[in-house]
């Protein structure tokens, strides 16, 4: 398991998820090179769990390429930004009081 996220991450891009196409297979998660995808607890209408994205996306497209359901779209920012993850401490764990 790679190192957990730091609180602030240089983020070059992002993804958009077509929630109704997603079948919760989870292939995108180990495929993600910067390891910023994780399985979430939200489900779509079909009952599949949807993935979640944390700051640090590099726009590498690995997730979109491995998605069997064509449910991911990848964007690259004109300028990389430092994204904070509110409610997450330096070890990547939830800060006290946060759900």
């Amino acid at each position: 398991m790679s190192a957990p996220h730091t609180r602030a991450a240089l983020t070059r891009g992002t993804v958009v998820l077509d929630a109704e196409r997603c079948k919760g297979c989870g292939l995108c998660i180990p495929a993600c090179r910067p390891n910023v995808l994780a399985m979430g607890s939200i489900t779509n209408a079909a009952g599949f769990n949807l993935p979640e994205l944390r700051p640090g996306c590099t726009g590498c497209m690995a997730c979109a390429e491995i998605c069997p359901d064509f449910a991911l779209e990848v964007w690259k920012f004109a300028e990389p930004i430092v994204m904070d993850t509110p409610g997450v401490d330096a070890d990547g764990d939830k800060a006290d009081g946060e759900v």
């Binding site: 992002t14 196409r21 090179r33 700051p55 390429e65 069997p68 690259k76 300028e79 509110p86």
Partner: protein, 262 residues
């Protein structure tokens, strides 16, 4: 909010680097299992066709299997043919419309069990078609039965305790057989279980199509794909299972290729 919103396009200056759906899909909706490797490989084929400017001059011939759905959603002039016969059908097609890119799509049950005869003879004749084998070592569409590429130890509904050589015989490596046939110009095997493998496999598919259009002879790309349903493994374990089981028997790489043009 601990995560980034991924249900809407970004609200900052950004460009889309990959859209949801390849151009040559009429729809991305399909009923294949979660974690199925076939659509991953199919995207590589469709993107390659577009990149090589073959969108308006491709004919697809598909066999019978889960992947037949992918023929249905593809924006390609298509024919579904009898089990195992795609390379023979492709021969008739290509001889009549030789300027067209002719691609066959078969699973391991279709090609290596039922249709071993057809693929070997099409290769021997050096037919200028690209034969694709999406190999997941199982008859997925019928519910998970042993094929000619099921590896030793793999459990299926007809090898419940795992395939055993003494009882079930050995798997056949059709790619290796094809390297022995002179009419086969390009023989390669990739996989879609990791991003690295996906990138390598894309290059193989592109090369095969380029060689077809250059009239080099029979081109063949086998892609190892995940079938967690047929393998009785959890969906997320598909990629690792593919590496541990299938890749041990079926090596990745270009098994036969013409020397690069100067």
């Amino acid at each position: 909010m601990t995560t980034v919103d991924i249900h809407a396009a970004p609200d900052r200056d950004a460009r889309r680097v990959v859209g949801f759906k390849p151009d040559l899909l009429q729809s991305s909706e399909h009923d294949l299992c979660p974690g199925c490797g076939h659509p991953i490989a199919w995207r590589l084929v469709l993107d390659s066709l577009v990149e090589l400017e073959l969108s308006h001059r491709t004919i697809l011939i598909a066999g019978h299997g889960c992947y037949t759905q992918m023929m249905r959603i593809a924006d390609l002039d298509s024919l579904q043919c009898l089990h195992g016969r795609a390379p023979a059908v492709a021969t008739g097609v290509k001889r009549m419309v030789p300027g067209t890119a002719v691609v066959t799509l078969q699973g391991d049950g279709d090609m290596v069990s039922e249709g071993l005869h057809e693929v070997l003879h099409a290769a021997a004749r050096g037919e200028n078609v690209t034969a694709l084998l999406f190999n997941n070592g199982v008859f997925g569409d019928t519910g998970g039965h042993m094929t000619a590429t099921t590896v030793i130890g793999q459990r299926t509904k007809t090898s419940l305790d795992g395939r055993e050589a003494a009882e079930h015989g050995y798997p056949i490596d059709v790619a290796k057989l094809l390297t022995q046939i002179e009419g086969a110009a390009y023989v390669a095997r990739g996989a879609v279980n990791t991003p690295g493998m996906i990138a390598r496999t894309k290059r193989m598919i592109r090369r095969a199509l380029e060689l077809q259009m250059a009239g080099a002879g029979f081109t063949f790309v086998e892609v190892l794909t995940m079938c967690p349903t047929g393998w009785f493994v959890p969906t997320a374990d598909g990629p690792e299972y593919l590496e541990d089981s299938m890749m041990e028997t079926f090596g990745i790489g270009e098994l036969k290729a013409p020397p690069p043009a100067d």
